[in-house]
């Protein structure tokens, strides 16, 4: 017993020493480094190979674009210094700005731009539409090149200034020549930041430093356009998978900026006077309930229409985003608050819900209690919330719903299956898109109802396909608006999917960060740390 007694003072001394070692040096981050907690983990370094938003955001750090979308939804020259369009609108000639340079020290040349666009056109849906119109792309000299069209393509500047995935980033020709189905891993770009691949720990950390050779434009930043002035030396993306831990780290000042977080943490973060909770995404995100149009019962349009009368965006969005300031009902297939949005044909989805009408349609469809498989991803809160509310609303009108929970990795595999239910098939799944991806018919992916060649669910509607083609050829806004409204009316008739509402994922940053650019994509330029 004596030795135990002798040991106690030593233990006490060790405890005191541990407390001394734990001096509060941890809450400060260095002055010119922004510690940023991204929405997810950076895994893939090829923004053309994947459409993942995190890789798109990485792309904006390390690459630049020929054109870029501004807050008025207009594509503005970015790497391009000047351009001209021939009178017949078939030849676009671009001249690059002075002093554009890749991080490997090589100048940006016309050949780099052409190779990058060629690779992008093989992967991106709008790029593929553009490819059908492109006759040739040719370099006049190292800084001037032309795109010669076979037929007019009024969306050309919108396409090469596309805001969201896949963004036509410009890469060195040697990299852009890589097969479009093979992932590139060389991060050489000409953007405002340089990626430090040696410090990259996938799943944990990605480090960027200011690109000293980047020459920003002189205009003020406006979404992806304008001057991309980097005001810090270094940006660290620190992945914190647990929301509660990330909130605590932001509160303690261990990180400077948390890109997206669950809305239920807003009140807690707002209580900290050193933290700014903001909604910097003017477009938000749009929820989508997608049908499998190949399998019964949703191969019957009346069944799809029936759901328009029972899905309640207020209930769904309250579950997804909580406080009404984080969401709004959006009865349009285009992002609400943008030029193409309207409520054309949306009456069945609006106003008081009408279960009686839904039941009548269900009866007309000949539904006889067959099992309806809904897939939900429990590791994606925005998706799981939609699924649970909608399943409940469907059960209320007598539908035999089998809500199957799985992780996102399983869901994205299963949704590719066209098999019947007893062989792993499905009837509905839920997802969401950034508002920038639903701006118009050329971008709205689920609206492209080209049957089994199309997106999962394989909606088939020849009228929608024809209208989409017309929209892409329309040269004036009034015509585009008219066709977009027609498409929406058709979409609420054939119902390839149902929009479930528009919501924002709030962002939060320390008060000493200044100059955050409001935009649908998080940009790290123009932000200073005081």
């Amino acid at each position: 017993m004596a030795s135990i007694k002798r040991g106690l003072p030593r233990l006490a001394a060790a405890t005191v020493l541990a407390a001394l070692l734990a001096a509060p040096t941890h809450a400060q981050t260095s002055g010119k480094t922004i510690k940023f907690v991204p929405q997810s983990d950076l895994r893939v370094l090829d923004p053309i190979w994947t459409t993942a938003y995190i890789t798109r955001n990485y792309g904006y750090m390390v690459y630049d674009t020929l054109f870029a979308l501004d807050e008025h939804l207009h594509p503005q020259p970015q790497m391009v210094g000047s351009y001209k369009v021939s009178d017949d609108k078939l030849t676009y000639t671009f001249t690059l700005r002075d002093h554009l340079k890749f991080t490997d020290g090589m100048p940006v040349r016309s050949a780099d731009c052409i190779a990058s666009l060629e690779r992008w056109m093989k992967r991106d849906a709008l790029g593929q539409a553009m490819a059908l119109a492109v006759g040739e792309m040719k370099a006049t000299d190292d800084r001037t090149f032309s795109i010669v069209l076979k037929k007019p393509f009024p969306l050309l500047l919108d396409a090469i200034g596309k805001l969201s995935s896949n963004v036509p980033f410009i890469m060195p020709e040697r990299i852009a020549k890589t097969d479009a189905n093979t992932q590139i891993t060389d991060p050489t770009g000409s953007g405002p930041f340089k990626f430090l691949k040696d410090e990259w720990v996938p799943g944990s950390k990605a480090v960027f430093v200011k690109n000293p050779d980047y020459v920003p434009r002189s205009e003020p930043p406006s979404w992806a356009a304008g001057g991309k002035v980097v005001k810090v030396d270094r940006v660290e993306w620190d992945v914190i998978p647990d929301s509660a831990t990330a909130a605590a780290a932001l509160n303690a000042g261990e990180v400077d900026w948390w890109e997206q977080f669950p809305p239920d943490l807003v009140p807690m973060l707002r209580r900290n006077q050193d933290v700014v909770v903001a909604d910097t995404d003017p477009l938000g995100s749009v929820g989508v309930a997608r049908f499998n149009s190949l399998l019964p019962p949703f191969n019957n349009v009346k069944m799809r229409q029936a759901l328009l009368y029972i899905l309640d965006q207020t209930d769904i969005m309250t579950s997804v985003a909580g406080d009404p300031e984080n969401w709004k009902a959006c009865y349009s297939v285009y992002t609400c608050g943008t030029p193409m949005a309207s409520d054309a044909g949306a009456a069945p989805l609006m106003g008081k819900r009408d279960p009686a009408k839904a039941k009548a349609l269900i009866k007309e469809a000949g539904y006889n209690g067959e099992r309806i498989v809904l897939m939900t991803a429990t590791d994606q809160p925005s998706i799981n919330a939609q699924a649970n509310v909608i399943a409940d609303e469907m059960r209320a009108v007598g539908l035999n719903v089998d809500l199957q929970a799985m992780d996102w990795g399983t869901l994205v595999n299963r949704r590719a299956s066209k098999a019947p239910l007893d062989k792993g098939g499905w009837n509905m799944f839920f997802t969401w898109f950034g508002g920038a991806d639903m701006l118009n018919p050329s971008l709205n992916f689920p609206l492209n109802a080209n049957g089994e060649k199309g997106w999962f669910g394989w909606a088939s509607d020849d009228k929608l396909v024809a209208l989409r083609a017309q929209w892409m050829e329309a040269s004036d806004f009034a015509t585009q608006k008219k066709i977009a409204a027609e498409m929406q009316e058709e979409a609420f008739t054939s119902v390839p999917y149902i929009p479930t509402g528009q919501f924002v994922m709030p962002t939060a940053f320390r008060k000493n960060l200044k100059g955050v650019v409001p935009a649908p994509v998080v940009f790290l330029w123009n932000v200073s740390k005081e």
Binding site: M1, A2, I4, A18, A19, L21, A22, A23, P24, H26, A27, R43, V44, L45, W49, T50, T51, A52, R123, A125, S165, N181, T182, Q183, T185, V201, P202, G203, S204, K205, D238, V239, I240, P241, D242, A244, T245, A246, A248, A249, A252, E254, D379, M406, D407, W408, G409, T410, V412, N413, R414, R415, A416, T431, F433, F445, K453, G454, W455, F456
Partner: protein, 313 residues
Amino acid sequence: MFAYLVRRLLATIPVMGVVALFVFSLLYIAPGDPAAVIAGDFATPEQIAAIHKKLGLDEPFLVRFGHWLWAVLHGDLGISIFTNLPVTQLIGQRVEPTLALTLTTLVVTIVFAVPLGVIAAWKAGTWVDRLVMIVAVAGFSLPAFVLAYLLILAFSIKLDLLPVQGYVSFRDGFLPFIEHLILPSITLGLVYGALIARFTRASMLEVLSQDYIRTAQAKGLANDQVLLRHALKNAAVPIATVIGIGVALLISGVIVTETVFAIPGIGRLTVDAILRRDYPIIQGVVLLFSAAYVLVNLLVDVSYTLLDPRVRY
């Protein structure tokens, strides 16, 4: 002894082979397709199919297993499907935090739990015993993530004594290295410590009832000598066994602890790989964990010879 070690090490080869086959088979039949995850939400089925083929995921099971096994035998665990980085490099990046966390936990837990178990046994039936056992039961009962949040709230948010999350390598300073490990070690160590404390108590109680203990006391030996030289030494073999078995608890606990404290260790690497179906990483990590577990148990077996001179190999 040397021959025994060689035999045991050789015996791990078939064990690892079975583990490899089992893991590969499980992943093969598990739902999920990394190509679909990689391609993103906008990808068409054709684009996913192209990536699927590019990754060689459409090859038959035996062909894929054969390729993988051949590479593993050459020390190559493959390339991560997502990052295109070698699995060995990814594991290499993550070994230090996990090793630091588990070793710290192991040492701290043993240093605290064994004495607590000894004291509880020595004071069996008293309030000291009951207090120790209450702490031990609480340790079993309290989920690691709840304890982690409570510790963060108390020591990081309220008292501002310790960092909330993250890991700092010892190469970047011993002080921040230790700072970042204190809360995760307590979180990870509580269940493990509870197990060891309870087992130490039980083992000691059995030994303390033996005749030779009474004899030692009758000879007039001091209490600490009786406890440490006679009782604990004889109770040590089962305690060492539990410490070895409990390493499995640490390995599984590391996954939760690393996630909550955002420590870039192998536990998080495993979870991320599973969620994305990054098969080469999952296979590599499971092999590593199996090897570690086999090795720890070998070390425990060897420790018997040190703890009990009657044990010979």
